[in-house]
């Protein structure tokens, strides 16, 4: 394992030290392991809280700030945060208007946020939840824990965050978040596995000519392993999986997130984006907004995910609303 770290156990904490140093506009509580907007709690504003295992940076802490999250709860690497952390975040951001949890659909995340919601309720904080489960590589059936939350998480955080910033109440913000999730589908392909600092070795093995199709953002092996294909074919298979699960009619608008999983250079992401843009154009879908870069990552995994969100004018308006966070910034 080759990483810029001091000790596997200290990675999350020491990265938070760096985050605090780089972003004085955030309040980083190393004790509680939470990252909070410096101006929270803000009277009349519902508090938007997300969190999950670390290793997906900039998600979530990189999206704390004006127009997006009020607080992030980073867990250990690939391990959901604990209820205490999430409760501490709720206390830090609740101004009496309640909080909204944005939770990626993993057994651990769901249970820990659920426990935190109960603890928060005990303290008189109203909690609503958005469950993100956009990864169509997983079949959504009673035979699985359900679809995973991946790339759409940042779309939910951006769009629900914009409504919260405008003064939307907790019920509306949660409902909007759910609507964004329902309109979104993601699919990922990895060229290499990732290595958690604690494990010290890759989560799975891939041959020099293989790719993992439908991989998870925690290095969970995917749907299947295949021979590596040209970017064009990978794009085709990815988009087919997405549109099969969540069709978009010709003429409709979409927000497209061309996301790198951590170790894929931007030149490849742009090349892929060109392929996807061509395919979507052929399908008559209009890419109204796009992002190309590393937003929801998986440590040092070489890979990519595509998220397509069917958008209407309200979603686009909220997408365009001002945002000022370490990893996403426009309009201010």
């Amino acid at each position: 394992m080759k990483k810029f770290i001091n000790h596997p156990d200290a990675v999350v904490r020491e990265a938070l030290v760096g985050l605090a140093a780089a972003h004085p506009e955030l309040r980083v509580d190393l004790e509680q392991q939470i990252v909070v907007r410096a101006d929270a709690p803000r009277a009349g504003k519902v508090g938007l809280i997300s969190g999950g295992g670390s290793g997906h940076e900039p998600l979530h802490a990189g999206f704390v700030g004006l127009g997006m999250l009020d607080a992030a709860c980073p867990g250990e690497v690939f391990t959901s945060p604990v209820p205490d952390q999430i409760l501490a975040a709720a206390k830090a951001v609740d101004a009496g208007s309640g909080v909204v949890h944005i939770v990626k659909n993993y057994t651990g995340d769901v249970m820990n946020f659920q426990m935190a919601a109960e603890l928060s309720a005990d303290e008189g904080i109203e909690v609503h939840s958005v469950l993100v489960d956009d990864d169509v590589a997983v079949e959504d059936s009673t035979w699985t824990a359900g679809r995973r939350g991946t790339g759409a998480t940042m779309l939910v955080e951006k769009i629900a965050g914009a409504l919260a910033e405008e003064g939307g109440d907790a019920v509306s913000v949660a409902a909007l978040g759910t609507r964004v999730n329902e309109a979104s589908a993601s699919f990922a392909v990895a060229l290499t596995p990732c290595t958690t600092p604690a494990a010290g070795r890759p989560g799975f093995e891939l041959g020099e000519d293989e790719m993992e199709v439908g991989v998870g953002i925690h290095g969970e092996p995917g749907r299947r392993r295949e021979k590596l294909l040209p970017a064009r074919d990978i794009a085709t298979m990815t988009l087919e999986a997405i549109l099969a699960a969540k069709p978009i009619a010709a003429g409709e608008d979409a927000i497209v997130l061309m996301n790198g999983l951590g170790a894929t250079p931007l030149i490849e992401l742009y090349l892929l984006y060109g392929e996807f843009a061509g395919l979507l154009e052929s399908a008559g879908v209009r890419i109204a907004r796009n992002l190309v870069g590393n937003y929801v990552t998986s440590l040092d995994m070489a890979g990519m995910s595509l998220t397509v969100c069917r958008a209407d004018p309200e979603l686009l308006r909220l997408w365009d609303a001002p945002v000022r966070t370490p990893a996403l910034r426009w309009g201010v």
Binding site: G53, G75, E76, V77, F78, T79, S80, P81, V82, P83, D84, Y106, T107, G108, M111, N112, M115, A137, V138, E139, T142, W143, T144, A145, R148, T196, A198, A199, R201, G203, F204, G216, H218, G219, E220, P221, R223, R224
Partner: protein, 213 residues
């Protein structure tokens, strides 16, 4: 079982988990996200520290503290599941510095119920339940046989539980996971031993070791 034995069990479990952490993580790498050993080791290490710094006045309090510690230190799926189980065990026990083997057995089952309620897993889903459920069944069966032993049958019941858990772990190999991260793999989860069931076996084996005469 008295307070000292309760602590000894958890200490023995912490040792076993520390020793097997790499193995648990390797199992989790195959069908999960490579952190089960790290999670359990962090959790049981914290339990050890918490118990060393506290003087619980009853057996139940030992387990409630241990469970709360797991909930607040582990995260992931295993933290809430094991934490809730231990908390339910602790809360179900009668007050006092000692409990008999039957009460302890009932407590173990209460823990299982809490875990199942939280996680929603059925037997055969390739989870903790597949080791835990046969273990408490075997415990109860052995207790009926050995209730008259000098220790009220605790050691024999614990041994039976550990053996049944081990059998349950082996039986997870051919299963297709339907809960937790391994379920994403669908048929590709078949052929792998479940990490959570494995750590459950370690915990029951620690009970057998700690109670062995």
């Amino acid at each position: 079982m008295d307070v000292a034995l309760a602590k000894a069990w958890l200490d023995t479990a912490a040792d076993a988990i520390a020793a097997q952490a790499d193995q648990l993580t390797t199992l989790d790498a195959a069908i999960g996200d490579s952190d089960h050993g790290v999670n359990m080791n962090r959790g049981f290490g914290a339990v050890r520290t918490a118990l060393a710094g506290a003087a619980p006045d009853g057996v139940g309090a030992v387990f409630t503290l241990a469970g709360s510690t797991l909930v607040s230190k582990v995260g992931g799926a295993s933290g809430p599941l094991y934490g809730s189980a231990l908390r339910a065990l602790g809360k179900s026990l009668p007050e006092g510095p000692e409990v008999d083997a039957a009460a302890f057995g009932a407590g173990l089952r209460a823990g299982l119920e809490a875990l199942r309620k939280l996680g929603g897993a059925a037997p055969g889903d390739k989870t903790i339940v597949d080791a835990y459920l046969p273990a408490v069944d075997a415990y109860d069966a052995a207790l009926r046989q050995h209730g008259g032993d000098r220790d009220g049958g605790l050691a024999a019941a614990a041994r039976a539980a550990a053996e049944a858990a081990a059998e349950g772990v082996r039986a997870t190999v051919p299963l297709q996971a339907r809960k937790g991260r391994a379920s994403y793999l669908g048929e590709r989860s078949i052929g792998h031993q479940d990490p959570g069931a494995t750590s459950t076996w370690l915990i029951f084996q620690a009970l057998a070791d700690a109670t062995a005469p």
